[in-house]
């Protein structure tokens, strides 16, 4: 058992809805094909003047408001993003300023897709030293997808948004039971966003690796905590692709209904997706003390892992 708790979640989604019809004409595919291969019907795109830090601050504000915590009570900010517009500085300091967090350390985690999971896992250990840790993941993938010619395999997937959670050292809604985070650079080039080029993705490699690593992380974490898949009330995954979520569910031996999904409406928002899903799940699910929750993500690097929590 870690000495850390998840106090609550928050999220921000831009208002502009981009349907499959709009994407289909760009990539020369049908709306049905996009839905079939991804489970995505629409996604959100940020406004031109809305950047990663703006969305991060909005999600952080939503999180603090939902929990009822003042900005002055935060001791550390971690901001994950793989789509920040600059090499440096990353969005963390600007996000801290926008939230009125003062001069607390604000650290960037330049991790796509798995960033929110890594942020939560690190915060679970850092909360003892820093007090309340605000973890935010924010992505403006539409700016990445604006490159022409549009790649059908990536353009259909991504959307914009931000998610947040507060990790506290003393009390909260969910106590963090255990964490498992891992990295392997063997396939770093199979999912990469170079400074000067478009996003490159070897879809087969990514899916093969994710299909094995995510279930393995879940099972390892559950096993060492003497739990089975069906003991977990809700799985909150990085929303990469509905077919991948379903595959992970089958591999773990749990019916897919326990795997929360909102990818149909928001698409893949990279590192933000897991916390956006968590915020929506928490807002629409009644509390059930004792229920186990499992977070899981996989992303470029490759980085992957899982986090186990229990409702207090």
């Amino acid at each position: 058992m870690k000495n850390a708790f998840v106090s609550g979640f928050g999220a921000y989604l831009p208002s502009r809805v981009v349907t499959n019809a709009e994407i289909a004409s760009r990539v020369g595919r049908t709306t049905e094909w996009i839905l079939q291969v991804s489970g995505i019907a629409e996604r959100r795109y940020a406004a031109d003047d809305e950047d990663v830090a703006d969305m991060a601050a909005a999600a952080g504000q939503d999180c603090l408001q939902r929990i009822g915590v003042d900005a002055g009570a935060i001791g550390l900010l971690l901001v994950s993003s793989g789509s920040s517009s600059r090499r440096f500085p990353g969005p963390a300091p600007e996000t801290a300023k926008a939230l009125g967090l003062g001069e607390i350390p604000a650290i960037d985690l330049p991790l796509a897709s798995a960033g929110s999971l890594f942020g939560m896992a690190l915060a679970a250990d850092l909360a003892t030293a820093y007090g309340n840790v605000l973890v935010i993941a924010s992505e403006k993938m539409s700016a990445v997808m604006a490159a022409e010619p549009a790649d059908q395999n990536t353009t259909i997937l991504f959307g914009d948004g931000a998610g947040a959670c507060l990790i506290s050292p003393s009390a909260g809604s969910f106590c963090i039971t255990d964490t498992l985070i891992q990295s392997d650079g063997s396939f770093a080039r199979d999912l990469a966003l170079p400074l000067s080029g478009p996003l490159s993705m070897n879809g087969r490699s990514v899916i093969m690796q994710a299909s094995r690593k995510m279930p393995r992380a879940i099972v390892e974490l559950l096993t060492r905590n003497h739990l089975k898949g069906n003991d977990v009330g809700a799985f909150l995954l990085h929303q990469a692709n509905q077919n991948l979520i379903d595959k992970v569910a089958r591999s773990v031996g749990v019916e897919s209904g326990r795997f929360f999904s909102n990818i149909e409406r928001y698409g893949n928002t990279s590192s933000a997706s897991m916390l956006i899903a968590a915020a929506e799940w928490a807002a629409t699910t009644s509390r059930e003390p004792g229920r186990h929750i499992c977070f899981t993500a996989f992303g470029a690097g490759f980085h992957w892992g899982a986090l186990l929590a229990r409702e207090c």
Binding site: N202, G203, R204, S205, I207, M208, Q209, R212, N243, K247
Partner: protein, 78 residues
């Protein structure tokens, strides 16, 4: 097809749900026979059927592009 190729074909047929399998050198992906999600299942079945362990670092899709390439890889692990 030799015995190993026939065993691999059986796995491919079971995972894909299709009766016919491509020729030994035909691309499983270009032919539309397998998608990326099914390939992960094929790898798991190969491990069971041949009693081999396939490490994640070997999961380069090109190694599993055709029945002949899969056979060559399986043979290297036996």
């Amino acid at each position: 097809m030799n015995n190993k190729q026939e065993k691999i074909s059986e796995i491919l047929s079971r995972v894909s749900g299709k009766d016919e399998t491509p020729g030994p050198d035909e691309s499983l992906f270009d032919s539309g026979y397998l998608d990326s999600f099914a390939l992960a299942d094929v790898v798991a079945e190969l491990e069971q059927a041949f009693g081999i362990s396939i490490p994640d670092t070997d999961l380069n899709p090109r190694r599993f592009e055709s029945i002949a390439l899969i056979e060559r890889y399986v043979q290297s692990k036996l």
